[in-house]
């Protein structure tokens, strides 16, 4: 039943396999992290270099979006099995978030 503590002792081979799988995953995480740092650097450099605002704003917003995807899908494992329902709610949240921001930057009637 649901409240029982799961009891499964893995074989040595399976254990080794999982360990290896996790350390591969961890390497991927490191890669994601490197990408995030890189994207951040680009964003800050662009602003420091003083390009035109019309060029910078869309690009840094895009970079932020990519970073967020990396965080959600790699660091927070949103792509893993069993995350379907919560991903649906997360995206619904983002949808509401988007229209909220859209409304308050466009139709606040000054």
């Amino acid at each position: 039943m649901a409240h029982d503590t799961p009891e499964k002792i893995r074989s040595h081979a399976e254990h080794e396999y999982l360990k290896k799988k996790r350390s591969t995953e961890m390497r991927h995480q490191l890669t994601s992290f490197a990408i995030m740092i890189f994207l951040t650097l680009i964003a800050f450099t662009m602003v420091a270099a003083g390009f035109s605002a019309y060029l910078i704003v869309p690009i840094i917003l895009l970079l932020a979006a990519v970073q967020v995807v990396l965080q959600l899908y790699h660091f927070m494992h949103l792509s893993n099995k069993g995350h379907g329902t919560v991903a649906f709610f997360m995206f619904s949240g983002m949808f509401v978030a988007f229209i909220t921001v859209l409304a308050l930057v466009t139709i606040v009637w000054w």
């Binding site: 039943m1 409240h3 329902t85 709610f89 619904s92 949240g93 949808f95 509401v96 229209i99 909220t100 409304a103 308050l104 466009t106 139709i107 606040v108 009637w109 000054w110």
Partner: protein, 629 residues
Amino acid sequence: MSSLAQKKGFGAVIWDYLTTVDHKKIAILYLISGGFFFLVGGLEAMMIRIQLMKAGNDFLSAGLYNEIITMHGTTMIFLAAMPLLLAFMNAVMPLQIGARDVAFPFLNSLGFWLFFFGGIFLNLSWFMGGAPDAGWTNYASLALASEGHGIDFYSLGLTISGFGTLIAGINFLVTIINMRAPGMTYMRMPLFTWTTFVASALILLAFPPLTIGLFFMVFDRLFGANFFAVNMGGNTIIWEHLFWIFGHPEVYILILPAFGIFSEIFAIFSRKRLFGYTALVFATILIGFYGFMVWAHHMFTVGLGPTANAVFALATMIIAVPTGIKIFNWLLTIWGGSISFTVPMVYAVAFIPSFVAGGVTGVMQAMAPLDYQLHDSYFIVAHFHYVIVGGVVLGILAGTHLYWPKMFGTMLSEKLGMITFWFFFIGFHLTFFIQHFLGLMGMPRRVYTFGADQGWDLFNMISSVGALFMAIGVLVLLVNVVLTTVKNVRVGNDPWGDGRTLEWAIPSPPPFYNFAQTPLVRGLDTYWIEKMEGNKEGMVYAEPLGDVHMPNGSIIPLIMSFGMFVAAFGALYFLDDTKPWALAVLIIGLGITFGSMLVRSLKDDLGFHITKEELIEDAKRGGNTDGLK
């Protein structure tokens, strides 16, 4: 010691309810406090109608009238309708999906107590210097100018009870996602469970903007911030947006569970499977989705520009489509059924024309140019009372009659129920139908009186008489409750005789562990399927009889909520020079809350087990012993 308790004294019962984490008892707490606030809001409504009974009446002063209309709206929406629906969700939804409890019993209790203390705090304003008086929408341009602390009671009280509602929403969502019995796929869930699910999702995403808006209001008024202060660069339209981004989904949070109750009723009392179950489910989801894209139709006259108005007008009209789908499905459920006109069924049948009337006036207002004419008139008042009273309140009354036996084990009197229905139904149409015309004749809403030369006397008088009818109906319902409780005639598992879903397969009221064995669900309308196949037990089981794990009761939710209650007083008087103790109160209150959170997280609370032997013994005694060690 046995975990099944014997007869208890009065004090023990009170303590039991204060510490309970059982969803059925929390449902009763919601029902009682929601019912209480419903009476308070009703009293305020009566005072409004007395004041408007005749031209130039001086029953209420203008200022007091403002306070009463504000508190009437706020109380009815936040403290009566929502908790009453949460009561049914708590009482029925876990039973419908075959769960032993909700996902987070502790949070369930916390949600209730937060709502309760928030509601009490808000209503204390009557005795502590005046209630809020800027309307239930509390528009910032009015609210910032309001003197005294009324508005602060509003924003702090609703913040607290809003947290409670958010917690309840998350709890129901997780319960439905994770705790359905084996075989209970999403497309086998009863409609009431579905509407609970979608309404909870709306709570999840709609309450944060309200909370943030209320925070801004608190910070503006009590801590000197400038979100809405125009002379400091602020913008009051931000409040309107945040309020309605919450406020429109809120309407669906209220109506969807009522739709769910009616769907159950139509199927039960027509003795037919719901017509177009799948369409009803998808219509529910669509309504939830569209609900987030129409809020600005409350703000057509603000001046958002033709593009915005056109987009929101169109989106608003589209919502009528899924709602229409539902109406037709209900009608086709009744059609050809073997109908019994019990009290719940009568409410359900009366609901259809009433709600459709409200829906039609809604589509009228969706046309932005026409809305410029109707805005702020009694036409609007008539419209939203047709959807809220004709939809939600009729749903709540129907649900009360339908689920009373499941919650309390006795049947409300059908005869008195009919009397309530007729008084309420006639009174409702008498009160609000005529207000459409008052609106078209130009009577603005939220005015405390009118002149004898304006020609609104007769219609207002009729409206007030209707309100009296509704009050009589509610009083008869109270008598009904008292008589039923005194007589205490116990009923069996399926008192209506035609129950279709799992909650009717277990004793009334259910044992505190709900299901001794988790049921196996073999299709939509589980219990009906088993009955039709001649299964005397009404259920097939997914597991052998074994020990059942139950959560422990706890007083911590109450203490935590009380801490917020105390802190709210501190925040309220923060800027008052005459009350230097305010900061201390604020800190003490938050200390109580965070302290009890810490205690909760540091102390391991693993619950307890009911053994198999106790379950067998309990089943022999009829299976509805009152639980708790």
